[in-house]
Every structure is written in structure tokens, then in C-alpha cells.
Amino acid sequence: MRTRLPVIICGVFGVFMAAQYFITAEPVTAMYRAVLDWMQIIFVCALLVGILNVILRQLKSAARPGPDRVYAGIALFGIALMVVLGFGWGIGRGSAFLWVFNNVQAPMQTTVFSLLAFYVASAAYRGFRARHFESALLIAAALIILLGRVPIGEMISSHVPAVVSWVLNVPAVAAKRAILIGIGLGMTATAIKVIAGLERAYLGSRTR
């Protein structure tokens, strides 16, 4: 029962959701919309499991003596601040919740991403050595894109923007399309295996 029932449920929902694409009858479409709503609610509940897990871990860290205690306290303060502001005073335009998001959270996220500029530069310095023809192609494509998207590219030659446009629209798109086709084939095969009950990794390692 522990394995068979979830596999049967998975198969039934999989077959229904695949078949509804070809059936336009109203009851089927209504059921399809209802299942999408259920999925959304289950997704949010799964997110809540993760959030509650983070809170429990931080509470445990805060209770243990040691240097991590202060950091766990800061994390719990952040969670409590957003929860109190969001549920207490709303999340609409002009709310304190949105103010904290715009003035603290969003700039901090942007700063963390901008940190990567330094590491990308250092990785490029160490990794970009044209040892093979393939790595030379990679460097050339990266440099052409970088040059073509800044004013200095057009100052070097008026052809640079056209070359950039060609690289992006022809060879890069060809490789991207092939990768998308590969992803599509792989996902379709995996979906069929999941619906048929051959792929059960989502149930946990003990069921394999």
C-alpha cells in the first residue's frame, strides 16, 4: 500500500492530464482546471514544509550556545519582521512589508548577484585559455558578444553589431534548439516512465 497506492494515483492523474489535451468536453476541462488548482495548493504546502523546516532549524541553532546563535537570531528576526508586517498591516502598495522588500531585501539580493561579477571575471581569467579549437570558439563567441553590446564594439568596426546579431541568431540558436529538442525528448520519456510506474524516485530511495 505504501508504494502501490501512490503509483496508481500518479498513473491515473498522469493519464488524465495527458488525455485532456485531446478532449475538449466541458466536464474534462473543468476537472483539468480543478487539478491545476489542487497542484498550486499542494505546491504552496510543500513550500510551507520547507519554510517551517528552516524556522525549526534556526530555533534549534538559537537555543544552542555558540557563535551561530546570533546569526540564527538574525534570521528569525527577519522571518518574524516580514510575517508581522505582512499579516499585521497588509502587503499592498505603500505597506511597511513592501517598504522592507524594496529597501532591504531586493537591494541585498541584487548585491549578492552583483558579487558574482568579480568571481565570473576571476573564473574567466583562470579558465579562458585557448588550449583547443573548441575553447577558442567559446572565448571568441563570449568576446564578440561582450564587444557587440557596448559602444566600443561599434567604434572598432561598424560590422561588429551585425556579427553579434548573426552569432546570436544562427549558430547559437541552432545549438539552443538542439538542446531544447534533447530536453523535450528526455522529459517526455521520463514523464512516460513516471506515469507507467517505472520511475519511482519521487517516492524516496526505499521504494526502488
Binding site: 492523474f13 495548493i41 504552496v44 510543500a46 579549437f133 571568441a140 563570449a142 529538442i181 514523464a191
Partner: protein, 199 residues
């Protein structure tokens, strides 16, 4: 942005950039604050925009059909109790099965048929032929059912050239996006905070 907002943003920005020197308490404090704010934000947004209007309000209004997602969601949350974890397999089976079912026609249409159609639809031009060669060669690179010998080897090699160009272009874009974020932060620190930038 108000003056206090500018100061808070500037101090948290500097705390994060302090990581460039080395891992330190200021960076760690900012890191944990960001984790806390993000978790709190996700909690509030998911409850206020999905659970409240999509589950609680319809249930209060007498929509008994919402009992099914309520039970499924509840089974997912009891995953936190180790002895009852096994029950969370039911909602997991629903989302995995339904997701797999939805993805089959969607993948076949968007990722395979439309991409193939767009590729063979322009073979009358030189660029169209270059693209067709690139798509076939790159797909052949991922063909692992036979050893890549004979005609397969040079075709797969050409596929790697196309992929290198794609990866290089993607890398170039990534560098540009990160640098533009950095410029934005510098403009904020030097302009909005320190008022050193003119105009």
C-alpha cells in the same frame, strides 16, 4: 527612497561586499538577515496570494470541493512529523503524475515539433542551412545509443563547435548582466548614498 531607507540599503550592501575581502561576521549577519527576510516574504506571499483566496475563502463560503486540496495539502504538511512522512507520498504522487501528464503534450509541441518546424522551415537560405546542420550535428552529439565512430564522429564534433559558440554567447550575456548589476549598486552607493555623482 527615504533617507533611512538609503542608509539601511547602503549598510547592507557594504556588509555583503565585505565578503570580497574574506568571510566575516558582517557578511554572515547580512546573509542570515537576507535568508530570514526571504523566508518570511515567501511565507506571507504564498499564504496571502494562494492559500487564503484559493482555499480558505472558498471553504468558508461553502465550496466543499476544496476539501480535496485541503486534505492533500494537509498530508503534505504532516511530512514534518517523521512517523507520518509516508502519507506525503499521496500529494506528491498527485503533483508528479499530473505534472508528467501535462508535460507530455506540452513538451512534444513546444520543445520538439515547433523547434523542428522552425529549423526546417528556413532551409532555402544559407543561414537556414547553417542552422539545420547545427541542429542535426548537436543532436547527434547527444546520441549515445551507438559508439561515436565513423560518420558519427565528425558530425558530433561539428555539434560541439556549435555548442561552444552557444555557451560562449550565454557566458557573455551572464557577464554583462552581472556587471550591469554591479554598476547599479555602485551608482547607488556613490550617487544616492554619498552624493558623489553629478547630474
Amino acid at each position: 527612497m527615504s533617507e533611512i531607507g538609503v542608509w539601511i540599503t547602503a549598510l547592507t550592501t557594504l556588509a555583503i561586499y565585505s565578503f570580497l575581502y574574506r568571510d566575516n561576521p558582517f557578511y554572515k549577519a547580512a546573509e542570515y538577515l537576507l535568508i530570514g527576510l526571504t523566508v518570511g516574504y515567501s511565507l506571507v506571499i504564498s499564504v496571502k496570494t494562494v492559500l487564503w483566496p484559493g482555499l480558505v475563502l472558498p471553504l468558508v463560503g461553502g465550496d466543499l470541493a476544496k476539501i480535496i486540496p485541503l486534505v492533500l495539502g494537509g498530508l503534505m504538511i504532516i511530512r514534518l512529523v517523521p512517523k507520518l512522512t509516508v502519507w506525503s507520498r499521496i500529494p506528491l504522487a498527485v503533483i508528479v503524475g499530473a505534472g508528467a501528464g501535462v508535460s507530455i503534450p506540452a513538451m512534444l509541441k513546444a520543445r520538439i515539433l515547433q523547434q523542428m518546424g522552425a529549423t526546417v522551415g528556413h532551409v532555402a537560405s544559407l543561414n537556414g542551412i547553417i542552422m539545420l546542420v547545427g541542429v542535426i550535428a548537436t543532436v547527434m552529439y547527444f546520441y549515445f545509443s551507438r559508439e561515436q565512430k565513423g560518420i558519427l564522429q565528425p558530425v558530433a564534433k561539428i555539434g560541439t563547435w556549435y555548442m561552444m559558440i552557444f555557451f560562449g554567447a550565454t557566458f557573455g550575456y551572464t557577464v554583462m548582466s552581472r556587471v550591469s548589476l554591479l554598476i547599479g549598486r555602485m551608482e547607488f552607493l556613490l550617487g544616492d548614498w554619498l552624493h558623489l555623482l553629478g547630474g
